[in-house]
Symmetry: C2
Subunit: 258 residues, 2 copies
């Protein structure tokens, strides 16, 4: 094996969120792959990323990433970069690719970056260590109606913890779940499962385009937030648990909550 595989996180929003280390690493690579279906950068385009890194990017589909062979075959003999939004190791599929590369004896490097997983708490002024596990809310369909996010929320709230809820995306279809859709889904689960944890008066926070100039953080009652407009994706939700007085003040000051 003469090659290598370098996972490079592009951070939260645009082509300037790459680190100097990431930039230097990608410039040493002969082949540059990227995927933007597990997460994407709303503030830029492939062309603008290519201009900053000085390399052509080959965009891979979900199938091509999951198949793994195209990437690994290149990385056996050449230096390959794999670009992803956020941190490159928060998606399961990237971990799987890293395992496969390591098993084939390919040296793997990881260049971490900001992820919504760590940035969301700070954007709202909530304490990171008071968050329970992160949940994901999936688009529902006739034969796919997972309620795990609602169950997980109930668990976190029972412990007094805050919850970050990531919202589903299907960039191939141009579909990005909005904060409003997420809130409505949680209300639907509440109606169906009735744990009395997500009601019209429950406090919920919506985040939009974190890390961008147009970033939005709002907090309010479910009934008010349901119909607010948060702009372009990506969105996410935070349901606060027990608030420390400094956290209450942070929500007041940063989100205009009264």
């Amino acid at each position: 094996v003469l090659g290598s595989l370098t996972f490079i996180g592009l951070g939260l929003n645009d082509e300037k969120d790459i680190t100097i280390k990431g930039l230097e690493a990608v410039r040493e690579c002969e082949t540059v792959f990227a995927e933007f279906y597990t997460s994407f950068l709303s503030g830029t385009t492939i062309e603008r990323i290519e201009n900053v890194i000085g390399r052509k990017i080959t965009l891979l589909s979900r199938q091509e990433v999951e198949n793994e062979n195209r990437i690994l075959d290149m990385a056996v003999n050449g230096k390959v970069a794999f670009l992803t939004a956020g941190d490159p190791m928060t998606a399961t599929t990237h971990v799987s690719l890293r395992i496969a590369a390591t098993k084939r004896g390919i040296p793997v490097h990881i260049i971490h970056n900001a992820s919504i997983v760590s940035a969301a708490s700070g954007a709202l002024g909530l304490q990171n260590y008071k968050f329970g596990r992160t949940l994901s809310l999936a688009f529902q369909s006739d034969n796919f109606k997972p309620v795990s996010a609602y169950e997980g929320l109930s668990e976190n709230l029972g412990l007094g913890l805050h919850t970050l809820i990531l919202l589903d995306l299907k960039p191939e279809e141009g579909r990005f779940m909005t904060a409003n859709e997420g809130i409505q889904l949680l209300l639907d689960f509440e109606k169906k499962l009735g744990k009395h944890i997500f009601l019209e008066g429950t406090l919920v926070c919506a985040l939009g385009r974190i890390g961008s100039e147009s970033q939005v953080v709002r907090a309010g009652k479910v009934s008010d937030m349901l119909n607010l407009e948060f702009g372009a994706p990506p969105h996410s939700l935070v349901v606060p648990g027990k608030l420390h007085f400094m956290e209450e003040e942070a929500l007041n000051v940063f989100t205009g909550l009264r």
Copy 2:
């Protein structure tokens, strides 16, 4: 108010972990403060950071940051950058500073970066969404013996979740808790409180210098890990909960666990 306050995260390890956006932002500032007591960069020096950013850095003590006035007074009339290791909003004291700045009408910008909070899971190949809340293990003294980390660990394990445990540091005194000291502390708590959650045979992971060339990730039984050497700080610990088979494979492949 003519000035502004820009919080800039420096990421995990060295002077090249700053983002292009962070670099451009700091170069537009007249005054550059930094603090390295809540977290620090083990792979660099102030001088090397100054060389990359092209600005002199004024290093602030804990007292100077907590007092806030020195920073805020400068930010009323001039462009001020505040540099921190990791993500700039994971420490409570930075949130407090941001609240105070906003209340004084000072425009605040945040440039996020990688944090151990999001990087630890990926470095081990564990799934981020299976982590319960992050805990901190503090140095114990005669009149300060907090057991909250042990209680929190018990809570997370009860839910089958993984736990990231951040280890205390007192850079002013050159003290950084090692993974070994952390494991010993948890064993001491186990002896005292006896919940049978952290025993000689319990699986524990140690992380050292994540994001650096010399990064270490190891996993093994408590009794074996207690005496291994993980090198220079910073260290942290992860106690896995229920492992998915892909997570078991990741630990095998990445940490040499058998």
